[in-house]
């Protein structure tokens, strides 16, 4: 009585064999090797940047963090990049989180299963896969052009246009992760709310959103970390490559020329002088501290509040 399938043949063969399972051992080692290779690459990357970049901090100390951009490597610093990244991060959070979470709530809690809903969710999934530089085209022709027409200084190439571009970029990711968090809230919680006479809005606000909060928070923070590391769309959306000076007033920060940390990294990495190589690694360390802080925060929040229903 034999079952003619690949599995049963393989099973019979392995049952008949004696001794140690060498192919299995080799396979397990191969898997472990692949996994370790990835970890080793990460370690090499970080150690390499630290060995190149730390001397800059030892030499210049806080000066590197507080100096502006300069074509003189001995004076150049990342202050404008840090300010730009923090401001753009704040603007993106303000613009993107309410819009993204509202959309997710609509799709999961309000929308019926009809063609509009399906069209919207297919759209959002596809938007999440569009290369980031294509969003730069949107930023250039819609947002930068808009601020230009409205008569903003610098032809509309300001941090607001950059923030709107990055908002468009991470909005689909925020919506998808928030929708997943809402979907994981059990139906019985909602039914309990309706049973007690609550309206849909009361159920959403008082029961569903609090239960989904950790998941939503994790997804949105990861998306923000992604926005802080993006360079390509901002190349088109008006961030400055090279040097510029600012007065530092709020109006100047919002409507004047701007740059972000990844742009500084890109700019310096293209310069031929060796001194700029070291500065690039130092700027990378600052950028990694910033983005990895948000990543670690998200992972920590998820592990801390992970709930099994």
């Amino acid at each position: 009585m034999t079952i003619p399938s690949v599995t049963s043949v393989a099973v019979q063969r392995s049952l008949a064999r004696q001794g140690r399972d060498w192919p299995g051992l080799v396979f397990a080692l191969l898997l472990l090797g692949a996994m370790l290779l990835t970890l080793v690459i990460l370690v090499i990357l970080i150690v390499d940047q630290l060995t190149r970049g730390l001397p800059v901090f030892q030499e210049r100390g806080v000066d590197f963090l507080t100096s502006g951009l300069s074509s003189d490597p001995a004076k150049a610093g990342v202050a404008q990049g840090i300010v730009g990244s923090l401001v753009i991060g704040l603007l993106v959070a303000i613009l993107c989180f309410p819009l993204g979470i509202l959309t997710a709530v609509y799709l999961e809690e309000y929308a019926g299963d009809n063609w509009i809903t399906r069209f919207i969710s297919i759209n959002i999934r596809n938007l999440a896969g569009v290369p980031s530089i294509v969003y730069g085209l949107l930023g250039l022709t819609v947002f930068v052009a808009l601020f230009g027409i409205l008569g903003f200084p610098n032809n509309g190439r300001n941090i607001l246009a950059g923030a709107l571009t990055l908002t468009a970029l991470i909005l689909p990711i925020v919506i998808i992760t928030s929708a997943e968090a809402l979907r994981s809230v059990p139906l019985s919680l909602r039914e309990g709310g309706y049973g007690a006479g609550a309206t849909r809005w009361q159920v959403v606000r008082q029961l569903v959103l609090p239960a989904a909060r950790p998941g939503i928070l994790t997804g949105t923070i990861l998306a923000l970390a992604r926005a802080l590391g993006e360079t390509a769309p901002l190349l088109l959306a008006g961030a400055v490559l090279g040097t510029f000076s600012t007065s530092g007033s709020v109006q100047d920060v919002l409507t004047g020329p701007y740059t972000v940390l990844p742009m500084t990294v890109y700019d310096w990495s293209r310069r031929p002088q060796d001194e700029f190589r070291e500065l690039t690694s130092a700027a990378i360390i600052v950028l990694l501290v910033l983005t990895l802080f948000f990543n670690a925060l998200a992972i920590f929040l998820r592990n801390r509040y992970q709930k099994q229903w």
Binding site: G24, L31, L45, P172, G229
Partner: protein, 312 residues
Amino acid sequence: MATQAPTAGPPERHLAGSRSRRSRETAIGRFFLAAALVSIAITAFIVLTVAEQAVEFLLAIDPGQLVADGWFPRRGMFDIATLVIGTLVVTVIAMVIAGPIGLLSAIYLAEYASPRVRGVVKPVLEVLAGIPSVVLGFFALTFINPTIIQALVPGAKGFNFAAAAVAVGVLTIPLIASVSEDAMRAVPAPLREASYGLGARRVTTATRVVVPAAISGIVAAMVLGISRAIGETMVVAIAAGASGGSLRSLDPFEPGQTMTAAMASLATGSDQVVGDNAAFQSLFFVGLLLFAMTLLLNVIGDTFVRRVRQSY
């Protein structure tokens, strides 16, 4: 009678309370719908603005200019094949690296790792996924190229496709690993138990039972990985070097441009990029092609992902 409703809806209308309470509910619903429509507006804006400028570009140039020895937009040579070939070279090398490593890591995480090991390794993969691509671009230029590529191929240039492609592969590993792992974890435990019950070993169970059962998810992971590699910009812009233009070439050890890198280069050609000239508008033509390619791949990947969800 007590048949269960598929989704939790609001209670019956007559229980919904006063008129003001009902109208407030409707208003809130409309408000949420308006937010959702923003995503549609963004898609429409992308497609319209990009397509309009791309058409203007095609009308402004002589069709003969689309075939030349290379891509030199400021000299009127718009050989799109150069960029597509460059993109293919980078994507193929990146996938040769990221495909096997990503899949093997996923098998390890889903079938071999103990929960404790997984609890440590998984966040590390997520950290790798969170590293900005400019950082990997610089790493490719200053570490991968001199210590790996030029050591293996002495004639390789200071900027080349191979170093950039290896770094793009590294960026793609976490995506492929996490989508494949999700697919394998979705394979029901009874399938594994049946396999073990028949006396199969771990390697047999993993490769002959779990991987075939999760194959559509694994294919989806590869398709999404390809889409990610095609869309990666900064790594290639930094490490593959060619700015201003590139000659049509299949040699991975020479500098060159992909579609994305050509766009970045047009953008950093800085201030004169904003204008009505053909070089500026070629940006949109390349962008539209890129958008169409990744859209197609994402739709294919998405179809496979949904097949996974339905099968068990």
